[in-house]
Amino acid sequence: MGMIKDIVEGGWSLIAGMWVTIRRIYRPVVTVQYPRECLDMSPAYRGHIEFEQFPETGSHNCVACGTCMRFCPTNVIKVQGEKTHTHSEKRASLYFIDFSHCSLCGLCVVNCPTQTLKFSGEYELAHYSRWDGVIDLIQRLEESA
């Protein structure tokens, strides 16, 4: 008798499960059809770093102090500066990051004395070469400007 009870109860639990799934067929899908429609990126999203463009200078404020380079745990950043006549400080002339080593810790952004570094919202980075992860931030800034 207990066995029959088990069978009936078990069968009922199966039907309850099927009821759960069949109801979903008519529910709207949750899929975001990515290349056609994109999710809103969170404001805090951490892509690779890029230069903040300051309105007063019209460009970045990187003084090539190298703090970011020193703080980077994985040697992602290579920055070189040169003194120009117009500015009394050094200015970055070369700023390369190898994004493929980055762990997105944000130490460079936090420690940047001039707050010129920020996270980009870039997430579509698929490429055909291993070296496509190397990004020239100055060039990137110029292009976006």
């Binding site: 690779h48 190898d98 080593h101 980055c102 762990s103 997430y123 055909y128 070469s129």
Partner: protein
């Protein structure tokens, strides 16, 4: 775009047949169920309801390498794991492709430092990689972008993928 011989050593090679086959291959990439570390979770997320790789016909995760077309190296390759990955790669039937997903798979990522003894710094040292998806871990969108890039690689150009009804966003600047 890198030219790659898609089907090495087919006994009969007809341009038309290859064209059709490549179109089909591009739209039916079955990845191998295979994850190494953090990126594997994002790979699962890409296959899950929100992002749904199945829309592109790439949602059939096959557990056996014999039935899969694509190896997604998702995560850090340890030296202990490297020979296994090579074995699995060789056990996949041609034509096959490889996506290096995440920074660890591309270059060892944050784990490549002076004195590192345990990992292989980069999938390209052991396998021919077709598409690199940087990120730590890349968002599922990034992986989908990688899939689309791979499809374009297989059909030799987005325009020749006649089944594609949207435009892939190509990041410029590099």
């Amino acid at each position: 775009m890198a030219e790659k011989e898609i089907a090495p050593g087919a006994r009969v090679q007809l341009a038309v047949v290859e064209e059709v086959l490549n179109l089909c291959r591009a739209n039916s990439l079955w990845p191998m169920t295979f994850g190494l570390a953090c990126c594997a979770i994002e790979m699962m997320a890409a296959g899950a309801s929100r992002f749904d790789l199945d829309r592109f016909g790439a949602g059939v995760f096959r557990p056996s390498p014999r039935q899969s077309d694509l190896m997604i190296v998702a995560g850090t390759i340890s030296k202990k794991m490297a020979p296994i990955i090579v074995t699995l790669w060789e056990q996949m039937p041609a034509p096959k492709w490889c996506i290096a997903m995440g920074n660890c798979a591309i270059s060892g990522g944050p784990f490549e430092y002076d004195g590192q003894y345990a990992i292989v710094p980069g999938t390209d040292l052991i396998l021919p990689v077709d598409v690199y998806v940087p990120g730590c871990p890349p968002r599922p969108e990034g992986l989908i972008q990688g899939f689309l890039a791979l499809e374009d690689l297989i059909t030799k150009g987005e325009k020749r993928n006649v089944l594609r009804r949207f435009k892939r966003k190509i990041v410029k600047g590099r």
